[in-house]
């Protein structure tokens, strides 16, 4: 598929998700995955600011992206931090030339195989609420068209965050941000339970949550909450995506 048709199908899929299951973690994880497919990037992830202003991890397309996003939060440096603080996109930064700018982050990201990084702000009414991060293993700049498309997807992410609780009588942006970050913590707690109960890795535990969520058409946060509450057993989760129709679309 061409980039244009991939982006269009991504938008359609996200719009369906908004109407359908209303789970912000599902939506932002899907968005990260689709960025990798539709744009010339190798990993994508979303960070959101808590109502108190602390940047936190919410979704990523891969484990190494997740590790690097957490690393940025820990060390308080990197493209996402710069983008969030300034509210301005950070694009086409070659990591080989970024040692002065990010002395801790640049070598760490290179170790994970990345060579250029981009971070686009999620902005709403003058407030920056997070960042969409795109990392590439290739050297060289990203096409202008890809950057414009990525910023478009960042806007979609912002709308998703706003939208996903509109039907549940949400009162404020702060409440929606708090909800998204709480969902992520519930998922981490559930991952720990699944990893220990079934002796698997954390990324596999997440995969099982996601597969179950898809197969049963339930939000991933709902599935994770049931695991933490003990009303759903880790061993009863599905291991793979079982729905043939959904599989064909993927």
């Amino acid at each position: 598929m061409s980039r244009e048709s991939l982006i269009v199908s991504t938008l359609v899929e996200l719009a369906d998700n908004l109407v359908d299951s209303f789970d912000i973690i599902n939506i932002l994880t899907t968005l990260s995955d689709r960025c990798v497919e539709a744009l010339e990037v190798d990993a994508a992830g979303v960070l959101l600011a808590s109502p108190g202003g602390e940047l936190q991890f919410v979704a990523s397309s891969s484990e190494s992206m997740r590790v690097l996003e957490l690393f940025q939060i820990q060390t308080n440096e990197g493209p996402c931090m710069d983008c969030y603080r300034s509210g301005v996109a950070v694009v086409n930064v070659a990591l080989s030339e970024a040692n002065g700018r990010w002395p801790l982050f640049a070598p760490r990201a290179i170790k994970h195989g990345f060579h250029s990084v981009h971070s686009l702000p999620l902005r709403l009414r003058g407030r920056t609420i997070g960042a969409l991060n795109l990392f590439r293993t290739l050297q060289g700049p990203m096409e202008d068209g890809d950057i414009a498309a990525a910023q478009g997807l960042a806007h979609v992410a912002t709308i998703a965050i706003l939208q996903h609780r509109a039907m549940l009588d949400a009162t404020s942006l702060n409440e929606q941000l708090d909800h998204a970050l709480t969902s992520r913590i519930v998922i981490e707690q559930a991952k720990g339970i699944i990893a220990e109960a079934t002796q698997c890795r954390m990324d596999q535990a997440f995969g099982r949550l996601r597969a179950h969520s898809r197969n049963h058409n339930e939000g991933i946060t709902l599935v994770a909450s049931a695991i933490v509450a003990g009303t759903l057993q880790a061993n009863d989760l599905e291991y793979t995506f079982g729905d043939p129709v959904k599989q064909a679309v993927l």
Partner: protein, 252 residues
């Protein structure tokens, strides 16, 4: 933004604790940081009941009492639903959702009330109840401060439940207001190993980190890497030396 506000919170807490070491520093700080008339904190006990932790003044105390008596109100809703609740005019339409609480709260002098959940993911610790003696919603700034305060209180309550002296709490909370993800994953792992709820596993993890004098996230990483585990049969913590993968007892 958050760093400055967190520093404000910790400075206020340190001041209040030195004045009144056994008192209600968390509530006083919550009231000041949100610029409202008063604050109260209720804690959800294991059987689902509510206990009062503190209140910043008599009105706030009275409001907590009303919530317990009638089993309704902003804190009750916040801890039940896991989301914030707000009634910006108790005598208006919004106040009708609490048939018994609202008129009594007005008699005490409250005109607007707000509830924020105190939780760490799926683990609910209680609620922060705030009131103002005039009507009106919270500004975005005030609601940001209330959320930040609720996350600091969440960690403070966790620390209290591990049994450390209260004077040590402000010191303990320095840094970020929330845990890094390893702590959440590790409390999930530990809940399976020790056959506990995630809430008790989190308290146990925090207590053990104290006992062996390492940070919660360092202990969490060891648990995730399977270097440290809790043995349910013998009720002891075991540690593996990576060189010989046999578990050794330590630091119970």
């Amino acid at each position: 933004m958050s760093t400055e506000r967190l520093i404000d919170i910790f400075t206020l807490m340190a001041n209040h604790e030195s004045e009144d070491p056994h008192g209600s520093s968390l509530c006083s700080v919550a009231k000041e940081i949100t610029e409202l008339s008063g604050a109260g904190i209720s804690i959800t006990s294991e059987d689902g009941g509510q206990e009062q932790l503190c209140a910043s003044n008599d009105v706030a105390q009275g409001l907590l009492d009303l919530e317990m008596t009638f089993n309704e109100g902003p804190g009750h809703d916040a801890s039940q639903n896991g989301t914030a609740s707000e009634v910006s005019d108790l005598m208006g339409e919004g106040g009708q959702r609490w048939t018994f609480y609202s008129p009594e709260a007005v008699k005490l002098g409250a005109r607007a009330v707000f509830g924020f959940p105190i939780h760490i993911g799926a683990v609910v610790f209680g609620a922060l109840s705030l009131y103002r003696d005039s009507t009106g919603p919270l500004s975005e700034e005030q609601s940001s401060s209330a959320y930040l305060m609720a996350s600091v209180i969440g960690r403070a309550v966790l620390v209290m439940q591990t049994g450390v002296p209260r004077g040590a709490i402000a010191n303990e909370l320095q840094g970020q207001s929330t845990f890094d993800f390893s702590v959440h994953q590790a409390s999930g792992i530990l809940s399976v190993q020790a056959k506990l709820s995630v809430k008790d596993a989190l308290i146990m993890l925090r207590a053990h980190a104290f006992a062996v004098d390492i940070s919660p996230s360092e202990l969490a990483h060891r648990i995730i890497d399977r270097g440290t585990r809790f043995d349910f049969q013998s009720r002891v913590w075991l540690e593996t030396d990576p060189k010989n993968r046999e578990y050794e007892e330590y630091g119970n």
